[in-house]
Amino acid sequence: MIESIINSDKAELTQNTKKGAPVVLSTRVRLARNLVDAPFPERANMAQRSDLMARCANQIADLSQMKNGAFFDVAELSDLERQVLLERHLISRELCDSQSGSGVFINKDQTCSVMINEEDHLRIQFLKTGFSLRSVWKQIDRFDSSLENELDLAFSSEFGYLTACPTNLGTGLRASVMLHLPGLVISNNMDKVIRAVNQLGITVRGLFGEGSDATGHVFQISNQQTLGESEEEILSRLASVFKTIIDHEINARFKYLEENCACLLDQIGRAFGVLKNAYVLNSNEAMNLLSLMRLAVDLEMLPEVNRSDIDRLFIECQPGHIQYVAGEGIEADARDLCRAKTLREEFVQLPALDFDKVNKLG
């Protein structure tokens, strides 16, 4: 059912990486919204859930932003298809596990998805590669307003948008960026950063991994509080925190290059060799190797044009994607062979690493 999603040549996250964008992989904003006249999804019965889904689906399908988009009834998706959508950040874990009467709209370029009957009636999400809180907010604000023209949303002047969980009350806004922070991780400064931003009501979590470490050095950072501040205030507070983290990351990289240049270049070189030659690669190892390759692009050791390949592989080497492409029912061991093969075929096409550029820097 989801071939169009996985084979799209216009998908934002896998095909549209921002050029010259170290550190920031993508920006996401989501809004939680509910209709005024129906119980929240967890409390609704089957008939109420289906009725609500039908009502919302009708309105959303008519919005210009959803032109040529696709709607999926979650009950009709296989576990594997759900996992693929999850790995592409188009649906949430909660929607994956939901009972019937839930669905998702995904627009043509996969920048917008609207989940129906997740924790709230509607979870609207916009995402874009690179750092673009403002423009993503503008887009989602416009979308939300056109939806409000058609649907009566649960709202109180005191508490704002009413949500199933009070943690989302008020603006219903959760904004996040996906940051690639190898410098802070390698220099053992990530703990400090996490503690510091936690004090500010901001959440940090490792993104990838079935395993224990922050695989791939990719972190998702988002606001925790949604009430008591306007959207503008939330976004500008977040933006300044993101910028500080990005500065720290860049500094950590320079410092590490100064002190451990040979060691870092050796790690990158070996990672490149492994990606070109490995026969078995599990997901964690692949993410960590790809992380070093993204760093290699930042250091101009690989051409900028290959940044998008690496970002695409971050997603396409996730277990669900590997399994989906190989066909259902493939064992974990066989998956690791497929993953290695995919990566070999991609990396053999890249030019040799250019160590001279970095040596000039250092």
């Binding site: 307003s145 922050a214 959207e231």
Partner: protein
């Protein structure tokens, strides 16, 4: 990374870090990926810290009033257990219970953000239209035809205004 941050459940290195102030105490939870998954907090978009903490921190306090939402039937105990509300009306039903929770949870307890102006004015004009139609029926039943004519005009005006607004938006 995080070599000194261990999962609070199984001592594996933690990758999920949550902080929240509950009852004026800062609560930090560090979890490994698998424990976080087991607790349903792996998806940062979907997790609710209240869920995670509800079992320990939100149990029904002694002597607390037992309220049930007239719209959806959710009880105080339900809310304490799940940390989630059942419907929009719950926010009215449980307002006294919610206030302190919201104070601890958020930057403030009053909404300062976006207002769905169009939806709100539509709801108000729908309510007004409803009132007028009731008044019209009553007037007709009471054979107060002058009043009925007046209400009919008002209904027309109200409908026209709503249409105009729909075009403008």
């Amino acid at each position: 990374m995080s070599e000194n941050l261990k999962c609070s459940h199984c001592n594996k290195p933690a990758t999920v870090h949550l902080t929240q102030i509950v009852n004026n105490k800062i609560i930090k939870v560090d979890l490994c990926e698998s424990c976080a998954q087991a607790k349903g907090v792996t998806d940062s978009e979907g997790y609710s810290l209240a869920d995670l903490l509800s079992k320990t921190n939100l149990t029904l306090e002694k002597g607390e009033a037992r309220i049930a939402c007239p719209d959806c039937g959710l009880t105080t105990a339900d809310f304490r257990r799940t940390g989630r509300l059942g419907c929009a009306a719950c926010y009215r039903s449980f307002v006294t219970l919610l206030q302190p929770v919201l104070e601890d949870m958020h930057a403030g307890t009053a909404h300062k953000g976006k207002i769905p102006k169009v939806a709100l004015s539509r709801q108000t004009s729908m309510a007004k239209l409803n009132d007028l139609e009731n008044a019209l029926h009553r007037a007709i039943a009471e054979e107060a035809y002058e009043d009925a004519a007046k209400f009919r005009d008002e209904i027309q005006a109200c409908k026209k205004a709503a249409e105009y607004e729909a075009i403008q938006s």
